[in-house]
Point group: none
Chain length 224, copies 2
Amino acid sequence: MKILLVEDEVNIASFIERGLRESGHEVATAHDGAAGWDLIGKTHFQLLILDVIMPGINGLELCRRYRAAYGYASPVVMLTALGTTDDIVKGLEAGADDYVVKPFSFAELEARIQALSRRTKTGEPNPVLTCGDLVLEVDNHRAVRSGIPINLTVREYRLLEYLISNQGKALTRQSIIKQVWDKEADRNMNIVDVYINYLRTKIDKGFPTKLIHTVPGSGYRMEA
Amino acid sequence: MKILLVEDEVNIASFIERGLRESGHEVATAHDGAAGWDLIGKTHFQLLILDVIMPGINGLELCRRYRAAYGYASPVVMLTALGTTDDIVKGLEAGADDYVVKPFSFAELEARIQALSRRTKTGEPNPVLTCGDLVLEVDNHRAVRSGIPINLTVREYRLLEYLISNQGKALTRQSIIKQVWDKEADRNMNIVDVYINYLRTKIDKGFPTKLIHTVPGSGYRMEA
DNA sequence: TTTTTTATGTCATTTCATTGTCATCCATTG
DNA sequence: CAATGGATGACAATGAAATGACATAAAAAA
């Protein structure tokens, strides 16, 4: 199982990591909330283990963000020294599935993971492509940015799919037309520009960071 | 939600029962394991809350039996004074989904129930499928939205069932025809469109939020 | 049985979102 | 400053989806 562990205390993190690896899981570790959020954007994890108290984005906040952006796709286990009822309730309300209070034994964590994964959804998750906080749902022809769903037309979808699956690379208008419009490019067509514009108003407008970048003299590039 | 509570201490039992009733749940209570097992045989519960320490059949044993006989259909919460790691692990291994250590506040129990029921599969013993405030009664071939009953024809029912059990995913007209009409799709049939229209007038018309969404160029998607 | 009602499916029509073109506007750069 | 490439708004053509009308089939009532 692919697990994300976000824990700022290095000793505890490596202790858990070792244990999980021994149980045959694949583990990615981040030592603060921001790094964790980054990893979430890059890979799909089947389970998230989040420490509550961390510098920057804390576990509750990270959990809320995750739920907002990805729904209840994967279970979340909260990990913390706080053990009062109120804290537990807060954690569960933030969308966590379970809550383990430190100090805990690895056996307990393992048992809870087992219990959770028994319940993990049967249906496969929608295949998605991501770029930063943008998620492109392949089957639904729909994008979700920071949890906000955005409907795309067929053409917009195909363009975004091409851009996102070549993110980081600058794509020429020629190659875009070939790929998205299935025809040869011909001078004096600004159809790509127009559709880039459509996409920008849908997925970039109103967001602080832009994902679609113009590469003057060359074409366009998608990057977080 | 229909909940079974098995707890031998009468005070605690009535305390929990009262709380759950106030939260709008339907509760059946048994004061020992045998009586609990009896009730399990008679009714289907969506959640089981079991005390570990009881005369006769204890909570762990009851949970094991339940899992053996009915699988992981409904979640089980263990309730006990024992709070050591070892006890918790044993409980989870017996098939429990969660473990609450006494003394606990009702708020904690409620929060854990919430967290669990988010994940409950709408499995076989549970004869309803839901999407938002829409409930599809599998046995009756009837839908209920916001408490308003809606009669469906056979074809409408099968279509809605297919949509709802694949909610969140866009379904193509092809696959819908295959599934609902048991035949191969053939161009120039708009029968799916027509029946989607019938369904919409029955379950979406007049409601502020629509459940059936068109995915242009692709098909239809059901989502709350 | 016949009659009536309901369900189902086809087809034609209407509606409306999507698509692509063009003209204009804006910014950057030599 | 002009020249260039890119951004954007207006608009018309297109095509997909929604809907209405109708014919047939099945079920229910008389």
